[in-house]
């Protein structure tokens, strides 16, 4: 069975006239895995990319730098994300080209698509992998952050093909440009639309939604802030510093804030600020998976043992809420001329 499947296929998401960062990162992962399988099994392991939607050639062309083959489908019906049609297109290409591994970026659309394709193909899918390996049998080993106290779990898909995975972004530095001279193949996919799902509107979230991902300074608060009043103080401080605010899951659970786009981590945003300042955050792997690319890490925690302190360049052992209030006081005191 396994013989019939070979190569790695990446679903690459486009963004305007380019590619999403996560798409380039996936291509990087695919290249590394392909090299490993190649070495182990002494066979050619082609890397291919699938791109759906864009009418312009640019994103597909960029992909040819990273992949042996780029399957590009510019059908009008795929211009905007339509879960059923997108899954149909990808499933069709998987059945046609039979890759042994299929990779998606672990965003909201990627997760839904991957789950739908895996169900149609009746194969296994691991979610939010933070590390990918090839074991001695040539199988993909997907490392995911498990439930509980900073435990990683391996997930394998030994007897079904393709092996499917959604990959957490922000783990690999995305390759800027590739040197492959891939073939661009325009795919005429048979899209069967039963008409039960139609797109009625698209609305940008505006700059607010991307603020966290693009911010140079992120001020993140956790459960150690203790209450909503202290959270609001943190927001005030972020304003004064011109920083974006981010949070951990308990902050949402406690309803100190309701905007899910503020959560950093495996189930939230991956950020890459120059400075990340985390206050009252323990540093669970679910959260820290989202800050791998942060430059400077400053952590404030009253527990010397806190994991986030271990990861920090500057470790402040003290009371978070009091320090936040004090910083506000200092800034305001020193800035009376505003």
């Amino acid at each position: 069975m396994e013989e019939a499947y070979s190569g790695i296929m990446v679903y690459a998401e486009a963004a305007g006239s380019g590619l999403k960062c996560s798409a380039r990162e996936l291509m990087g992962h695919a290249g590394i895995l392909a090299a490993k399988i190649q070495e182990l099994e002494n066979k050619q392991v082609p890397v291919s990319a699938v791109i759906l939607g864009p009418q312009n050639l640019e994103p597909a062309k960029t992909l040819t730098g990273f992949a042996g083959r780029v399957y590009w489908c510019d059908r009008k019906e795929l211009t905007v994300y339509h879960p059923g049609l997108y899954a149909g297109a990808i499933t069709g290409l998987v059945e046609k080209y039979r890759p042994e591994i299929v990779m998606f970026a672990a965003g909201p659309a990627g997760s839904e698509l991957a789950a739908t394709c895996a169900a149609r193909l009746k194969t296994g899918l691991a979610a939010h992998a933070v590390e990918l390996e090839i074991n001695r049998d040539g199988h993909l080993v997907q490392l995911v952050v498990s439930y509980g106290e900073n435990i990683m779990g391996e997930i394998l898909c030994p007897a079904h093909r393709p092996q499917m995975v959604t990959v957490q972004s922000g783990i690999l530095e995305p390759p800027v440009s590739g040197t492959a001279a891939g073939e661009l193949i325009r795919e005429e996919i048979d899209l069967r639309d039963d008409g039960r799902l139609t797109i009625t509107a698209i609305e940008g979230k505006g700059n607010e939604a991307c603020r966290l991902e693009e911010a140079e300074v992120v001020l993140a608060g956790g459960y150690g802030l203790k209450n909503k009043k202290n959270w609001l103080q943190l927001e005030e401080l972020a304003d004064l510093l011109g920083a974006a605010t981010g949070c951990t899951r308990p902050v949402l659970d406690e309803h100190w804030v309701d905007d899910e786009d503020l959560m950093i981590g495996i189930s939230g945003k991956t950020i890459h600020p120059r400075v990340y300042l985390g206050i009252g955050i323990s540093g669970s792997s679910h959260h820290t998976a989202g800050i791998q690319k942060a430059g400077w890490i400053i952590a404030v925690n009253n527990d010397v043992q806190a994991r986030l302190l271990q990861m920090a360049d500057l470790r402040i052992v003290g009371d978070g809420p009091a320090i936040v209030a004090e910083m506000i006081k200092i800034i305001k005191g020193g800035n009376t001329s505003t």
């Binding site: 879960p83 965003g107 909201p108 839904e112 789950a115 739908t116 895996a118 169900a119 149609r120 194969t123 296994g124 899918l125 979610a127 939010h128 080993v141 490392l143 439930y147 509980g148 900073n150 435990i151 990683m152 779990g153 391996e154 997930i155 394998l156 898909c157 039963d194 799902l197 139609t198 797109i199 509107a201 698209i202 940008g204 979230k205 991307c210 140079e216 300074v217 304003d239 004064l240 011109g242 899910e260 120059r274 540093g283 792997s285 400077w296 400053i298 404030v300 010397v304 990861m311 920090a312 360049d313 500057l314 470790r315 402040i316 003290g318 009371d319 910083m327 006081k329 800035n335 505003t338």
Partner: protein, 271 residues
């Protein structure tokens, strides 16, 4: 409108966990559980649609029998009926098989107009189950809904939240939709409702009731298999440790920000 809500009891965040070295999963039996938070938003969505158009709201949950108690909260919130889908042979099912079992349970009771789910669980957190449930049922499905409006008896308007955009769809019922926490604020059950719900029944559906053989479910039937569990080690940095008075610590952070080029400026902006 006939509405089903799929709900998962998840470990109470306040309790310690133990692992099963054989199955390599969290031992769920006997663990204190709460309803997965976004599933309450799904239930709230269902309850509001019922208020608007009449009908019934039925809860389905695939969980160990011990979770029955925490499911009563859904009755207290206003659900009409609860099915606990439970059998020892279901243990170790991955998302594909979990979705299969839920689909069987739903088909056994009768496919409704709408199946609602949360967007992800706090324990496994894959977001796979709703889409895969939709696939097994052969129904159209949408994820990450932040707004749901009933257009007419056959159509739902659904606004979904992706990374950078909201996309709205019209979907023909029956359908499966998962909701984010943004969609509403779930009601709190009153103490009286909690007490009353204790005497209400939770109906059990086991493998036999669903015509599922042991080979079709559980770890063996699941395409994905857990491997080793490994400790996650943080990238330990050679950081400077600092403690002192609150004033000193606050100043130290501001100094550090300043030295990195991010001092507070008049008007609050950064350079």
């Amino acid at each position: 409108m006939n509405i089903y809500v799929v709900v998962k009891p998840v470990p109470d965040p306040k309790t310690k966990l133990t692992y099963d070295p054989e199955q390599k999963t969290v031992i769920r039996a006997g663990l204190a559980t709460v309803i997965n938070p976004p599933d309450k938003n799904a239930l709230e969505t269902g309850l509001r649609l019922r208020e608007q158009s009449g009908g019934r709201v039925t809860v389905f949950s695939l969980a160990p029998p011990s979770a029955g108690e925490s499911l009563k909260e859904t009755l207290a919130m206003g659900a009409d009926e609860v099915y606990l889908v439970s059998d020892p042979v279901f243990a170790g099912s991955d998302t594909l098989i979990t979705a299969l079992i839920l689909a069987r349970a739903i088909s056994a009771i009768g496919v409704p107009d709408l199946v609602l789910a949360g967007d992800r669980t706090t324990d496994s957190g894959t977001s796979h189950v709703p889409a895969q449930l939709g696939e097994w049922l052969g129904l159209p499905h949408l994820a990450n809904a932040c707004e749901i409006v009933l257009r007419d008896q056959k159509n739902l308007a659904v606004k979904t939240s992706l990374d950078e955009v909201f996309i709205s769809y019209r979907v023909t019922l029956p359908a499966v939709v998962s909701v984010t926490r943004r969609i509403n604020r779930p009601r709190l059950a009153t103490l009286l409702e909690m007490v009353r719900s204790r005497s209400k029944p939770v109906t059990l559906l086991d493998a036999a009731a669903l015509n599922l053989s042991p080979e079709q479910t559980g770890l063996n039937a699941s395409p994905t298999k857990p491997g080793r569990l490994l400790p996650a080690r943080p990238v330990v940095k050679e950081g400077t440790i600092m403690s002192g008075t609150v004033g000193e610590m606050a100043q130290e952070i501001l100094n550090r920000l300043q030295s990195l080029g991010y001092g507070p400026k008049a008007g609050g902006g950064l350079g």
